[in-house]
């Protein structure tokens, strides 16, 4: 099936299975190279703080986000690089943000977990984004824009009560929203069996939300699977929930992995990139790998040249008066 023309901010007009396959792979390999480079830069001491990588889960982002229109809303979590890059391809702006630069996505104020670009948002505290995305979907419905919202969460976030307040409100008020639960099996260092009782699917069903589940790391399969679901959310203006059985091949955040090596190895056999790459011609695969590499290196080079934000920009915009006031409170005459 064709990707809608406005689907992707950077997408070429794709109209056959080969070009879809190439596009999905190109996005996944960009996400993968980007995050591998990010981990290198952390190790080299070039990045601050922490980051949560999406390595192993890339097929989910590209399988879903390519069906979304430009007007649609995405709300992501702490693990947002993959969703953002699938949506925008803006590796340079994200890299500058991770490097804390003034020209990053949010001027260095947010970093890895707190970004905003057009209709894409993310925040780093678990749970709270789910009802906010629901409110966004309802606002679009009230304003009759035709936009829908998609919110991404992981298995760990299902421990937060706010998620269920959101499910209830979304169902009660018919919010046009897709809830995506990416079960990567590990909530930081805790395996899903030790933190989650009952069924993920039944959590949605209990609120009267039509819910489904797919166990796949195949980007094309996910892409085909989500096409009718997203159309249905838009058409019926009702919430829908999907559980994707996936696996995080990297650590939770940098350098905190204590999972059994055999388990990781088991899932590595099933990882999304080689699976899709094997369906491309070697020339095309090589070209797409190279393009991703080049794009990431250009992003790093560009981001390194960008200035750090100055504290004098604290009070930019309408809050300036308050910041001045806050300052005056701090300094005795």
């Amino acid at each position: 099936m064709p990707i809608p023309q406005e689907a992707h901010l950077n997408s070429p007009h794709l109209n056959n299975q080969d070009s879809i396959r190439e596009h999905l792979y190109a996005q996944m390999v960009l996400i993968r190279r980007f995050e591998e480079r990010v981990l290198d830069l952390f190790a080299a001491g070039e990045l601050f703080g922490t980051t949560h990588c999406y390595i192993g889960q890339e097929a989910n982002a590209v399988g879903i986000i390519n069906h979304l229109e430009k007007r649609d809303i995405i709300f992501s979590s702490h693990r947002c690089h993959g969703h953002f890059l699938a949506r925008t391809g803006k590796a340079d702006l994200l890299m500058a943000e991770l490097m804390g630069r003034a020209t990053g996505l949010v001027g260095g104020r947010g970093g890895s977990q707190h970004i905003c670009y057009e209709n894409f948002y993310s925040n780093g505290v678990q749970g709270g984004i789910v009802p906010t995305a629901t409110g966004m979907a309802l606002a679009e419905k009230m304003l009759r824009t035709g936009a829908i919202a998609t919110v991404f969460m992981g298995d760990g976030t299902l421990g937060e009560g706010l998620v269920y307040e959101a499910f209830n409100l979304a169902s009660l008020w018919s919010a046009p929203i897709l809830f995506v639960i990416e079960n990567n099996r590990w909530s930081q260092s805790t395996p899903v069996e030790k933190q989650l009782a009952g069924s993920m699917l039944a959590r949605g069903q209990a609120f009267g939300i039509e819910s489904g589940e797919i166990d796949s790391t195949d980007a094309e399969e996910l892409y085909d699977y989500f096409d009718p679901i997203i159309k249905k959310v838009r058409r019926e203006q009702r919430p829908h929930l999907e559980v994707i059985q996936t696996y995080r091949l990297c650590h939770h955040s940098k350098s905190d992995d204590m999972r059994p090596e055999e388990e990781i190895e088991h899932y590595r056999q099933n990882e999304p990139l080689p699976k899709l790459r094997s369906r491309l011609s070697p020339e095309v695969a090589e070209r797409l790998d190279q393009e991703a590499h080049t794009k990431v290196e250009q992003a790093v080079t560009w981001a390194r040249q960008q200035p750090f934000p100055s504290p004098s920009t604290f009070g930019a915009g309408a809050t300036a008066a308050e910041f001045r006031q806050a300052e005056s409170h701090r300094t005795a005459p």
Binding site: G110, Y121, A318, H329
Partner: protein
């Protein structure tokens, strides 16, 4: 025509809903004929059924939902039935709503108002009587506003919803709802007082017995404490011939220090009243700010009148002992005068 605080707020909600299709009202038990626990939203759901959303008991959920609506262009007014329940939404207030605009480098606005009744003196006990606004004062990104009977409460709410692009926590002291609105003029008489109202979206009212020529003590109070401070000022004048100026801010955060410093130039003595618990309260912040900015104006140690650092009891003898009373303000003013380094020359 005299109106009370409740009707002033209710009329303002009617006005904004009829004027502006972006306004939505969200909260528990809002639908007519009930019309909200304190009836501030009465009549709204009948007239605007599509934009008055009665919610499940999900304070965090519907506050977060309203934030999403605000980011996408609506102007939601959230009612939290009792201010005590604001704590259920504290993560949204501090970690989400207050941060979005700044954290996203000014790319979004969250024009959301949370209105909530605070305060005791009605025998509602430990979990339905508190004044918890101090916990949100200084929370980045938020304006904390409290009307008093000396302001036009409806006008303040209207400005918060329609004109303020940042989130506003709007604190309504619940004993105030039945009080008549006695809005102070920008400059002129208000009963026995001369009144002045500062300019700006959330003004400060200053009341003086003496045309702002001289006074002994600056009594700062907001919300439900404002009329108590007024009563204390009247009592002290009659009994002791102590002249108090009563300063009533409507913006608790950020604090506009100017009208307070202006009064302190005449009095040199400061007493700050609040109904919440004393430790790390609004009064502490205000006194720290005044001391840092204008220590030379202070002729006596600034004093606080506030609730004891205890839960609020149900029974009236204990509730009265725990919450700040008229007599506490009276005593604090006398202490401020007694502690003064300069003999009062009046």
């Amino acid at each position: 025509m005299a109106t009370n605080v409740l009707n002033s707020l209710n009329a303002a909600l009617h006005k904004m809903l009829s004027e502006d299709p972006r306004v939505v009202v969200v909260g528990e038990d809002l639908l007519d004929p009930y019309g909200g626990a304190f009836k501030v939203t009465k009549g709204l759901s009948t007239q605007f059924p599509d934009r008055v959303l009665t919610t499940p008991l999900s304070e965090a959920g519907f506050t977060a939902l309203a934030a999403g609506m605000a980011i996408r262009g609506l102007r939601p007014v959230v009612e939290i039935m009792f201010g005590d329940f604001l704590m259920l939404a504290a993560d949204q207030i501090v970690n989400h709503i207050g941060k979005y605009r700044w954290m996203y480098n000014d790319k979004v606005r969250v024009p959301l108002v949370i209105r909530t009744p605070m305060g005791g003196r009605r025998g509602y006990g430990p979990t339905h009587s508190q004044s918890l606004e101090k916990h949100f004062i200084g929370a980045p990104g938020w304006h904390v506003v409290a009307p008093s009977p000396f302001h036009d409460p409806g006008a303040l709410l209207y400005r918060a919803v329609i004109e303020d692009d940042d989130p506003v926590l709007f604190i309504e002291n619940k004993t105030m709802y039945a009080r008549p609105v006695r809005e102070a003029p920008s400059e002129g008489r208000l009963g026995d007082f001369h009144a002045r109202t500062s300019s700006g979206r959330y003004p400060t009212v200053t009341l003086s017995f003496d045309s702002f020529s001289s006074a002994d003590v600056t009594l700062v109070a907001y919300g439900g404490m404002a009329e108590l401070a007024e009563a204390a000022a009247e009592q002290l004048l009659m009994r002791e011939e102590i002249f108090c100026e009563v300063v009533v801010p409507s913006s608790l955060s950020p604090i506009d220090l100017e009208p307070i410093l202006e009064s302190l130039k005449r009095t040199g003595k400061l007493v700050v009243c609040e109904e919440g618990t004393q430790t790390a309260g609004w009064g502490a912040e205000l006194i720290a700010a005044v001391s840092a900015q204008a220590f030379e104006l202070l002729q006596a140690p600034p004093l606080r009148v506030a609730a004891k650092d205890l839960p609020i009891a149900n029974t009236s003898t204990l509730e009265t002992a725990i919450l700040p009373q008229l007599e506490d303000i009276d005593q604090a003013v006398l202490r401020a005068c007694a502690n003064s380094r300069r003999v009062t020359t009046r």
